[in-house]
Symmetry: D2
Subunit: 383 residues, 4 copies
Amino acid sequence: MRKVCVVITARASYSRIKTVLTAINTHPDLELQLIVTGSILLEKYGSVINQIENDGFKVTASLYTIYEGNNPVVAVKTTASAMSELATWFDAIKPDVVVTIADRFETLATAVAASYMNIPLVHIQGGEITGNIDEKVRHSITKLADIHFVACENARTRVIRMGENSDNVYNTGCPSIDIAAGILKNQLPGFNPFRLYGGVGSVFNHRKPYIVVMQHPVTTEYGFAKEQIECTLNAIQILKIPTFWFWPNPDPGTNETAKGIRSFREINKTFPIRFFKNMESAHFLMLLKNASCLIGNSSVGIRECSFLGVPVVNIGSRQAGRDRASNVLDVDYDVAAITNAIAYQLAHGHYKPDFIYGNGDSGQKIAALLTTVPLCSHKTMTY
Amino acid sequence: MRKVCVVITARASYSRIKTVLTAINTHPDLELQLIVTGSILLEKYGSVINQIENDGFKVTASLYTIYEGNNPVVAVKTTASAMSELATWFDAIKPDVVVTIADRFETLATAVAASYMNIPLVHIQGGEITGNIDEKVRHSITKLADIHFVACENARTRVIRMGENSDNVYNTGCPSIDIAAGILKNQLPGFNPFRLYGGVGSVFNHRKPYIVVMQHPVTTEYGFAKEQIECTLNAIQILKIPTFWFWPNPDPGTNETAKGIRSFREINKTFPIRFFKNMESAHFLMLLKNASCLIGNSSVGIRECSFLGVPVVNIGSRQAGRDRASNVLDVDYDVAAITNAIAYQLAHGHYKPDFIYGNGDSGQKIAALLTTVPLCSHKTMTY
Amino acid sequence: MRKVCVVITARASYSRIKTVLTAINTHPDLELQLIVTGSILLEKYGSVINQIENDGFKVTASLYTIYEGNNPVVAVKTTASAMSELATWFDAIKPDVVVTIADRFETLATAVAASYMNIPLVHIQGGEITGNIDEKVRHSITKLADIHFVACENARTRVIRMGENSDNVYNTGCPSIDIAAGILKNQLPGFNPFRLYGGVGSVFNHRKPYIVVMQHPVTTEYGFAKEQIECTLNAIQILKIPTFWFWPNPDPGTNETAKGIRSFREINKTFPIRFFKNMESAHFLMLLKNASCLIGNSSVGIRECSFLGVPVVNIGSRQAGRDRASNVLDVDYDVAAITNAIAYQLAHGHYKPDFIYGNGDSGQKIAALLTTVPLCSHKTMTY
Amino acid sequence: MRKVCVVITARASYSRIKTVLTAINTHPDLELQLIVTGSILLEKYGSVINQIENDGFKVTASLYTIYEGNNPVVAVKTTASAMSELATWFDAIKPDVVVTIADRFETLATAVAASYMNIPLVHIQGGEITGNIDEKVRHSITKLADIHFVACENARTRVIRMGENSDNVYNTGCPSIDIAAGILKNQLPGFNPFRLYGGVGSVFNHRKPYIVVMQHPVTTEYGFAKEQIECTLNAIQILKIPTFWFWPNPDPGTNETAKGIRSFREINKTFPIRFFKNMESAHFLMLLKNASCLIGNSSVGIRECSFLGVPVVNIGSRQAGRDRASNVLDVDYDVAAITNAIAYQLAHGHYKPDFIYGNGDSGQKIAALLTTVPLCSHKTMTY
């Protein structure tokens, strides 16, 4: 029975990994050790820990690690703090394998702690290309990780080209697609976002066409976060289409993004826009599935929306380099360009599903591999 | 005038980088910001900080970061501690570029702090291959670094293959060769290691043939450190050749290594062996230059000795994968194999110089590049 | 020339200590080393660091130390983080004496770092009695401190009774009174809080009678913060008198307090209430000087208002045990009691000045003492 | 059933508290949560954790917290590190009451973490007087603690005079006496320290008269540690009486103390002196019981030896101010004074038992109180 320790540091990672957690939890040969940290614990970001426990997962350890300040200095300190605490806990619970997800800055803490402690490290979703600090973090984790569960073929090729042994690189698809696949089976007929989540702002008819906006600050451009969000807000204002808007991640720049949004609200009090902090992934994907278009820079546009066929207007550099299906239209921070792209997507309507990020069984695949892959914390370059 | 912040965490790194520091310090367009941490500050490891200040360098900040325990848990905590402190200091002194050296576990702290704070990061001596945790650390730093000053052509090729832009990868040679080159010019005729450094153990005639031993614990094999050192001790005992022996690095396993050495001493009180904690590099290289053979697993055998033509018996996996000249004979942890290899090298005598790690102007090259390379903290994979 | 290192961790401490800083800065025998940390650096709490620099003080070091979470766990971690960073900086700047102020939880970090490093420690404002965790912190600091600058005679008696040598306990008065004294001399005739600070909420005529509210969560009762603030809000609502309201400190419970305030605002959009994050102390005291009454639990009601003669309704336990003049009326968390007390104070009008906390030369006194008191970091109990 | 969390940071504290742990462990109404940290985990200090587990106690958490350096800077960092880790663990295991012991610098971490987290804090052995930094730490902890279990009447009086409510101050005696009392019942007839503990140095007949030395560096005088130990070594050398010598605590100065001892050994290779790192308390007390005299500055001389009637020569300031029985002779760091005092005690022989520190039931008393004392984490000064 292998003890699998999964470390989750943010709402988005939890949503993405959820079917993996379920598959581990129900697998007879695996024991789940779940460590939550980062914004998962903070009320300000929706106390995701409550959702995790309501979903039936037992939390092994909750670690407060985030420094206030929302700037690069505290990003380092937050990472260091997580690293130090994780070392203590890995030593206490002695996992057979540690799993880290994607590329948020603080996830490097998990990778360093596990690899320095000679615990085999699995990295989910390495090998992708984006346009910010995550880029450095992601590939740096690849070089610390022993086993790679990548989400698409290009990612697999890239991880191997970086010198990883191809025997240790598996294309499992992206587990976020699993939930999207679940949504197609269960359409949640009575789903009402206003009733379920409240939110702040105007009320409108969610059965009529609407768009969804999800735009995060870009770490390497965090001084421009306010201007960047204002482009999107202006485009929305011009198009006057009802909008569900999600609050940004707690990355450097998030305060500026929030300011831009607040100013807009003060001036446009009757605009049909509704703000949410977060939603359970199933509900969020349902909302997305029925949306006319997704606007912003979330990876959801690249991944889940390719499978769901939802039209996407992807703004700026945050997802640059990620493999994408034909549903995505890329634009720069420019009011006219954003407005035109949204108009084009509204006219086009939904796309056919594309399976580049998997077909919905990623969680099962990963759990199966976790029981069988040879575990080793020592590796050498292939060249 | 660029502010260049160099972070040094161990005696070996200081020795290696010294000519770079001098070249930065004397360059009219560069300002040196020197941060020392790790074992540099500890009396137990020879208070290298005193040597640094005696060498005329001004220390900007001294950071205590090492946790006691000598095991993988505290290796993580030490790294985290350095990371957090470095963030504060980078914020206070605002360097234009940060320089990190080689691949000790705690150097990742420098790389993370600089890259997360969007400060351009130079990595010296990436792209090499060895056989331990350093391997993961080194390549992980490569993926965080913006500019790479590598020590040999193979390293350059490897860094580029990992997806780094070739415009940012420079073969500067290894600055450790600079000091070796200096030694050839200045043979220190009256050099007497006993008089200069004292040391512990027997006294013998250093003008007659002797060997030098420098063997560190291997991080990924730290449970075997005692047995590994005993192989070498037994070989020495068989050959009965006078020996200068250097204490190991403070890596996990160092206590075991030290125990092995102490037991040997208790039993072989009259054996012609002399122990030193450390020496100034010039003195150390002089001692090496005149040695019949170097035994152990130090990178000095691979680098400086290739240039100096000193015969080397390299034991075990620590330097596995490093490019080497013909002066190096590789053996496993095996008393007979080690004994035979030493005998072979003693019979062979010195080798012709080989310039695979540079020809003595690496410090100058690096300082010159630091004034001219475009500085950027944002990069993308080349594939 | 003595190097005096003052550590400031929060807006309130800065306001209180400002005349001391000025007196140190202008004293020929003292050199000020100013370290700022805690909420001083955070935009969320008004980026007090900008105000400090605008006031002409040079900041020696800025240390990010606050963990997000607003609960007792992170209060410990924030304190630990400050402690560790301060040790590094005390070691770097080698102060002759360290000054810590009052009793916020994180100030214990300053006291521990200085005393453990054998640096003489001055504590300003020990010996007072209040009703929360500050109580433990304050007296604990007294037992670590070498020299005590207390604010009133009762405090002096109490510090001595705790076993401190009376030679090291000086009643300097409270430096916060210095600024209040300055206000009496310079009445700032054109002062307009709306124009100077913006704020949020309604606009009303600040030349007509108004009250000021400043109510912080009580650390030991932080689960009740929302109900506690609602009592005050209800009383204000009943009295309908124009109100200037200041946001609470970042103590555990502050989120609950903020929630209570936000709910009130959503329902009472036209109520004549104006919210401010903070003000320069001179402006704040001017606002207070002209107020009909101060409501809440701030120590300003006890100290500055005794000198200014401003009527105060002090709610709950936060100031329990502090020596007070006749201008203070104490009430419990009870809407009727609060309402009646405010009504009483409005009817009574201003009080005569009382000098229990000094008469305005505290900063000068402290600076003078700092040049002359014998410095020692070793003490013994008097019994 | 109350969950009692005891935090142990050093060998001496474990020895002292052992009967309390046993009494808690066997009490039906108490659940023991044992956290070990500091030097308990380090091989260098005898891996006391192994002894703890061999004694049948289950360790809840092991926390690495000690920074290398052995100086005041790292004393602060070690304390901060413990504080931060303890916060995480108190949050995880939610004790009803936390117990901290005595006054080593890092124990303040336990006190701060518990009190800031509103967990009732018991302090064992407050109210005593000594002459070093422990003095500040001890009384500072008293002001953070809610319940005080003191070891003698004078200590009780002192804690109450410091403003603690007498209802919360209990004279339980010192649990270290419990083990001494056990020794009187079980004289371990075949006890042979050489056979049981090995040690380093000469062998001599332990059934003939011998003395025991236990001398720690004094934190506030740590620059003088080498000279101080040399006084004692010289006196021993003059008297030529066989000596069992125990290594010092890991306090600042310990390296200097160790150096002094090593130099002595190199020069006096045949002197009848045997060095031990540590012993189980029962064995140590047996050795002490049969000793002609104890020399040094350990509190064992003041406490256990008063009960056992062993003559003591107490050197320097470390125990200054502690209540003592007639068996203790105080001297300064002076070779002649030490020599004379030892000669006097050897001539005098053993003393009659004195019960100022209790009569052997302290562990039982403390466990009984832990089940019944009202638990509260909120207190006010009595004056």
